[in-house]
């Protein structure tokens, strides 16, 4: 008995993650999905008339390909919804809501009102939210059919964020202890990050024994991050083949390579920024080569005659310590000698180095305070500031108001996005940064940091 108890007590199973779904596929299955261009017209800052228990007094609604996200500061909650037009020009928006730090989740089904607004959206002839737009319906708990009233009334446009303010997801959408059903540093969590309010992601880069830059936080295959009987040891001792054969992330995902991650981001998301946190110096050169190649490919893609396939993505190689800085300098020299593009860099620990090294961003830790003077200095030098990692509402507010940075890394993207919409001051537009997207221009064209 003692043995059994000890064994059972030792099990650190992945946190419960029960993402509810409509059993019959919901109404989305019966409708025609809204086009990407039309989804933009659903964005805005909404007042909560009913359902304050769930969302608080307001919510930000933003969209990404195929998704309408409702983001709030109530328990960092979010709703990930799809939108479709039903016969009779009824527009349904449905999916699930979740508080990431809690097990609670449930279903949401909303309809666009008034009928004229729904009709305009379904017919795709809108470039901005129709007058008087309301999303009204119900939410529920768990798999229960939604019966609690929820009513969101469009209040104002979102303040500028695309190309202006980076809501950067820390290792992806959620913490390892959250209940989002995805593992940190996975492609799946990056997809979810966009749906929960991020327009950038921070991921951790390490190098396998055979030279593949991969995403993983710890130097060791700790059981808090991976599973697998044969999944043991140090990342630097293992080849990519070994990792693939022996390990999966906590929710069963594959440990991705940097190349796989960037491909997924480019092809499947509208994320604007990628923060590659170099955990080891040896990863800088191979990672930079991958980034350099990708940026070349994107340049070709953006210069062709089809503006609809334009894709701009800001990628920074983040330098967290001196050892990595030395590797970065060496890498820059090697790539220059090879006649290749040198990726952008971010330095975490010294704002003066950001400018002297020609980097585009500074990534200070929040523990040293807002450092408003340094933020301004970096901005004057043409770079941006992205603080890491702030998850609490009061700290987010303090940094948004006192430092007014261009971005913050957070594990609570929905909270950060909504607080920015509530009290944030949009940073000045950067050179070459287009404005908010307009229907018809495909994916939003955004500037690199």
């Amino acid at each position: 008995m003692l043995i059994a108890i000890a064994m059972a007590a030792s099990c650190e199973s992945a946190p419960d993650a029960s993402i509810p779904t409509f059993g019959d596929g919901g109404l989305l299955r019966q409708g025609v999905a809204l086009s990407r261009d039309t989804l933009y017209a659903l964005e805005g800052f909404f007042e909560t008339q009913q359902g304050r228990d769930l969302l608080g007094d307001s919510a930000s609604v933003r969209t990404s390909p195929g998704t309408v996200s409702v983001l709030t500061d109530e328990n960092a909650g979010f709703a990930v919804l799809g939108a479709a037009c039903l016969p009779g020009d009824r527009l349904v928006v449905e999916g699930y809501w979740q508080y990431p730090t809690q097990v609670e989740a449930g279903l949401v089904r909303l309809f666009a009102e008034p009928p004229e607004a729904a009709s305009a959206l379904c017919n795709g002839n809108v470039s901005e939210p129709p007058p008087g737009l309301v999303l009204a319906g119900h939410y529920g708990d768990g798999q229960d059919f939604p019966t609690k009233p929820l009513r969101l009334v469009w209040s104002r446009a979102l303040q500028p964020w695309r190309g202006r303010f980076f809501t950067v997801a820390h290792h992806g959408a959620c913490e390892a202890t959250d209940h989002c059903g995805v593992s940190q540093n996975s492609i799946e969590t990056v997809r979810l990050a966009e749906r929960t309010g991020s327009n950038g992601v921070e991921v951790d880069v390490r190098l396998t024994r055979d030279g593949f830059p991969i995403l993983f936080h710890d130097p060791m295959l700790s059981s808090s991050l991976v599973r697998g009987l044969f999944c043991n040891g140090m990342i630097e001792d293992l080849t990519l083949a070994q990792l693939r054969a022996n390990c999966s992330l906590r929710y069963g995902e594959t440990i991705p390579t940097v190349e796989e991650l960037l491909d997924a981001i480019v092809e499947e998301t509208e994320l604007e920024g990628v923060y590659l946190d170099m955990k080891v110096a040896d990863a800088v050169l191979p990672t930079s080569r991958i980034v350099s190649t990708l940026l070349d490919e994107l340049e070709v893609r953006n210069q062709n005659d089809d503006p609809a396939d334009d894709r701009r993505l800001g990628i920074v190689v983040a330098v967290p310590k001196e050892e990595v800085l030395d590797a970065w300098r060496e890498t820059r020299q090697i790539l220059t000698n090879e006649g290749r593009r040198v990726p952008s860099c971010l330095i975490e620990y010294d704002p003066d180095l950001v400018l002297s090294e020609g980097c585009v961003a500074w990534g200070p830790t929040w523990t040293e305070g807002p450092q408003a003077a340094n933020v301004e200095k970096v901005r004057a030098g043409g770079a941006v500031t992205v603080f890491w990692t702030i998850n609490q509402s009061d700290f987010i507010d303090e940094f948004l108001t006192r430092a007014q940075p261009e971005g913050i890394i957070s594990s609570r993207s929905s909270l950060l996005f909504h607080r920015y919409q509530k009290i944030g001051v949009p940073p000045p537009p950067r050179a070459g940064t287009p404005g908010e997207p307009t229907p018809g221009d495909g994916t939003p064209a955004v500037g690199a940091p």
Partner: protein
């Protein structure tokens, strides 16, 4: 350690059967020892009286009370092990041999107190397996042969009661992982905190050596490893420190 639901459900019958085997062996050995002593031969030494009246129910116990009160006791264990946990990627047609072997040696300072300090060092050949890896960024696919083992370095305490001896250990493991793929072998290791619970049952007194049936559960926190072992240990007093 992460335990998939399938892992946990697969543990229950294994643990149950191991516990059953252990208990059966313990009780059977007690009866056997009792019957041997009930028919003394000229060669056998006279049965000493129990240490206390309270131990009269344990008359079947080996005559351990003839040993000195304080001694440095050396023991060795050998037996099969069964490791828990599942391969990571079912898509890669994994096969796993979970039954391995564990050998260990321990030194115990047996004192006049109820709790005795002990230091154990051992090695377990835990599992072998294969996975069929498809082609990928690493090149062509093939079979990955996997081997898993661990060193155990475990200080702890032990205590005896009736025919049983319990031991709790908390120490370090050195988990060794080795894979062979396309003719190349790569190894790595990590150092998780390792805790173990050992329960031994006195089986035979072959003075000066005592033979125990021993079961143990070992947990490596931080690595995805837990296993149990059931086997035989032999122990004897290497150094008499006085008392009797």
């Amino acid at each position: 350690m992460s335990c998939a639901p399938t892992t946990m459900t697969s543990r229950a019958p294994t643990l149950g059967s191991m516990a059953w085997v252990f208990w059966t062996a313990c009780v059977a050995s007690g009866f056997w020892a009792s019957s041997v002593r009930a028919q003394p031969t000229a060669a056998s030494s006279p049965e000493p009286a129990p240490r206390t009246e309270g131990e009269s129910s344990a008359q079947a116990a080996p005559s351990h009370d003839t040993r000195p009160t304080s001694a440095l006791e050396v023991s060795a264990f050998v037996g099969p092990s069964v490791v828990f946990g599942a391969p990571a990627n079912p898509d890669y047609s994994p096969s796993v041999e979970r039954v391995g072997a564990l050998v260990a040696g321990a030194v115990t300072y047996r004192s006049s107190y109820f709790i005795d300090p002990v230091l154990e060092v051992g090695y377990a050949w835990l599992a072998r397996g294969t996975s069929e890896l498809p082609s990928g960024p690493w090149g062509e696919g093939g079979t990955v042969e996997q081997r898993l083992g661990t060193w155990i370095i475990s200080p702890g305490v032990s205590a005896e009661f009736w025919r049983l001896r319990a031991r709790l250990g908390l120490g370090l493991g050195i988990v060794t992982q080795s894979d062979t793929f396309r003719g190349q072998t790569f190894s790595t290791s990590q150092l998780p905190v390792m805790s173990q619970l050992v329960i031994a049952c006195k089986a035979l007194d072959l003075a000066p050596v005592q033979i125990d049936v021993e079961g143990r559960a070992v947990l490596a926190s931080g690595a995805d490893i837990s296993f149990i072992g059931l086997g035989v240990s032999a122990r004897f007093d290497a150094l008499d420190l006085g008392g009797s």
